[in-house]
């Protein structure tokens, strides 16, 4: 199996030059001018949070809510790490947009045959062993691409050797772990990071809990209904028989 890849974003190192944005725009043929924020024409975006620049993008969860939500399985977690999208299966229900805790998936509202758009971690390049275009473009090493294990080691290394980091990697545990990891010298809460509502339990567990009941509903419900029907039929038969006096001679 391929080794699991990941992206490490170092908020402390980021200088806000937007080279990652431009590389992404170029790779996808998106316009350079676009409104602030993620959209169907901006799969990554450098967010200004006070003095800090924070790259927003799909975090490529280890157990993605969008993958579990998509009814036709158009989204899937690849063994390499990226959460990829098979547009040929998508029917445009937009449940992935509801399910994603980060609201990352965006929709092509301006098109007549719209698809969902989100970062796919340059899956075609990653398959060939190449890094993502954003990691390649970053001039200061704020976005690095590599094996997830290695990047976590590297991140801890930076946190240990340079004293001013928050001693935490966002993405090792959050939402059951993600393939995009963040380290920062400012607390993540102040940078607009979404904190998981379920502790670190992956979100798909929430729907699994409900869906797990279906076989029980069918089995228990089915037998109960059959039993009720049997009783009803029996009652009718008895009532009918009593009406015609068939039971009268029973004791004799």
């Amino acid at each position: 199996m391929a080794k699991k890849k990941a992206i490490l974003v170092d908020v402390k190192r980021c200088i806000g030059c937007q080279a990652c944005e431009q590389a992404c725009e170029q790779a996808h043929g998106f316009p350079v001018e676009h409104p602030a924020g993620l959209s169907d024409k901006a799969l990554t975006f450098v967010d200004q949070k006070g003095a800090k620049s924070v790259r927003r993008m799909c975090l490529h969860c280890e157990e993605p809510a969008c993958v579990s939500a998509c009814l036709v399985g158009a989204l899937h977690k690849t063994p390499e790490g990226p959460v990829a999208y098979d547009a040929s299966k998508c029917m445009g229900c937009r449940y992935c947009m509801i399910a994603c805790p980060q609201s990352v998936p965006k929709y092509q509202w301006t098109k007549l045959a719209p698809y969902m758009k989100k970062c796919d971690m340059c899956y075609d390049r990653v398959k060939e062993g190449k890094p993502t275009v954003c990691a390649e473009a970053c001039p200061v090493g704020a976005t690095t691409f590599g094996d997830r294990d290695e990047l976590i080691k590297e991140a801890w290394n930076r946190i240990r050797t340079e004293g001013d980091y928050v001693p935490r990697i966002y993405g090792t545990e959050e939402f059951g772990g993600t393939s995009v990891l963040y380290i920062s010298d400012v607390p993540f809460e102040q940078l607009g990071f979404v904190m998981p509502p379920t502790g670190n339990e992956p979100l798909p567990m929430l729907s699994a809990a409900a869906l797990g009941e279906s076989p029980t509903v069918v089995l228990v419900g089915g037998s109960m209904l059959s039993a009720l029907y049997w009783i009803t039929r029996r009652r009718k038969a008895v009532a009918e028989a009593e009406k015609f006096g068939k039971f009268e001679g029973k004791g004799k």
């Binding site: 009814l71 229900c93 929709y107 979100l203």
Partner: protein, 393 residues
């Protein structure tokens, strides 16, 4: 020609206008696109079409499986006269949901994809499979009314009706199971969006809440429809049936009210209800319309005994139910995303047009098929008393 068009009445004119405006809205949706026809955005990807069309459409169609189960499985023979009306109502409700899918999906020509692409982990997959199966079940349950009138060959007709009758109990049981599942899973859709749903409407028991609220709402709509059948389609219906239905509805509403209250306390969300904001306002609107007002009104004997009052009480229940579904799907998500979504007029126009088409289909079915016993000629508005005598309304 004159007979074909018929008399131009106020309601016919209104219906025609609604359908025409709806057709134009459909043109905008399919040829001008989403931005022109909707106010949907990335922050609010589901709007009126999902919140009203799907959630309310499915929920309010819950009457069919209840009456079918009561008559066929529990042997409550006295509800048999309501059977066909409730099945027709549910069938048309689900048809409207399916038609709604055609404009609320981004790529509607792929509406069949869930048949071959399965994702067992998706709540929406389970919902779509259940809705597909249940719509089929309803079509089969409804089919005798059409077959007995529309198939001219006696042999074929008998053969079909015989087979339909043989599998009927199976259909009714499947209907109950499928309904129980997808009515709850519609609430289950929002479980995964924890953190994006306002605490007044998020609960790990959303599935149970949706199920418990759909049944009384389905009954309320059925009572309204039966009232209107008597009012304008010369239907012969025993009023005591409606009284009994509303009594059951009242008990179910009471159960739901207790469950909802305990659930709010359990989730520690009660204080949100007493804040001075939009969410609290919509919350109380839902509670008053769906629970407080109907429970108070129904406990009043005069309301239960007066058809018109009962009708309006049921209308309150239906409106309260709509408020609940729209709150879960729009208010609750809007509160967290700050999307400030308000539907654009084509969204409303298309929804209205589909509803109107449903009403017309219902009316034609009652007029030309044997759905409910009717007086031959238009007579005074009257109810059938329990002993079969005609009482004055």
């Amino acid at each position: 020609m004159k007979a074909l068009i018929g008399k131009i009445t106020l309601w016919r004119a209104v219906s025609t206008i609604i359908l025409a405006v709806g057709a134009y809205a459909a043109y905008l949706r399919f040829f001008e696109g989403w931005v022109v026809s909707t106010n949907l955005t990335d922050a609010q990807p589901w709007g009126l079409w999902v919140g009203f069309g799907t959630l309310c459409g499915v929920g309010l169609s819950a009457g069919g499986f209840c009456i079918a189960a009561a008559v066929y499985l529990l042997g409550m023979e006295r509800y048999r006269p309501l059977l066909r009306t409730s099945i027709l109502l549910s069938f048309l409700g689900y048809c409207s949901v399916c038609v709604g899918m055609l404009y609320e999906l981004g790529l509607p020509w792929r509406i069949w994809h869930p048949i071959i692409y399965w994702n067992k982990h998706s709540v929406l997959f389970d919902v779509s499979l259940c809705v597909m199966c249940y719509t089929t079940v309803l079509a089969l349950e409804f089919s005798p009314s059409l077959v007995e009138k529309a198939i001219p060959w006696k042999g074929l007709r008998r053969w079909y009706l015989k087979w339909q009758h043989r599998i009927l109990i199976g259909l009714v049981m499947a209907g109950v199971l499928l309904s129980s599942m997808h009515q709850s899973y519609l609430g289950g859709l929002f479980l995964i969006a924890k953190g994006k749903v306002h605490p007044l409407w998020y609960s790990p028991y959303l599935t149970t809440l949706f199920y418990l609220s759909a049944i009384p709402a389905g009954m309320a709509l059925l009572v309204m429809v039966l009232y209107l059948c008597v009012r304008s389609l010369q239907a012969k219906i025993e009023y005591s049936l409606l009284q009994d239905l509303s009594r059951i509805m009242m008990i179910l509403l009471g159960v739901y009210a207790v469950f909802r209250a305990l659930d709010l306390v359990r989730n520690g969300a009660t204080h949100y209800a007493f804040m001075m904001n939009k969410e609290a306002g919509y919350f109380w609107l839902e509670i008053v319309l769906f629970l407080a007002a109907p429970l108070a009104l129904l406990s009043w004997r005069k309301v239960r005994d007066t058809p018109l009052y009962l009708y309006w009480t049921c209308a309150t229940v239906v409106m309260g139910f709509m408020a609940n579904r729209l709150n879960v799907s729009i208010t609750a998500l809007d509160a967290m995303s700050g999307a400030q979504y308000v539907p654009k007029w084509p969204e409303i126009a298309l929804t209205m047009a589909v509803l109107t088409a449903g009403v017309i289909a219902f009316r034609l079915a009652v007029l030309y098929l044997d759905i409910v016993p009717r007086y031959e000629e238009p007579k005074e508005f009257r109810w059938l008393a329990s002993d079969g005598a005609v009482a004055e309304a």
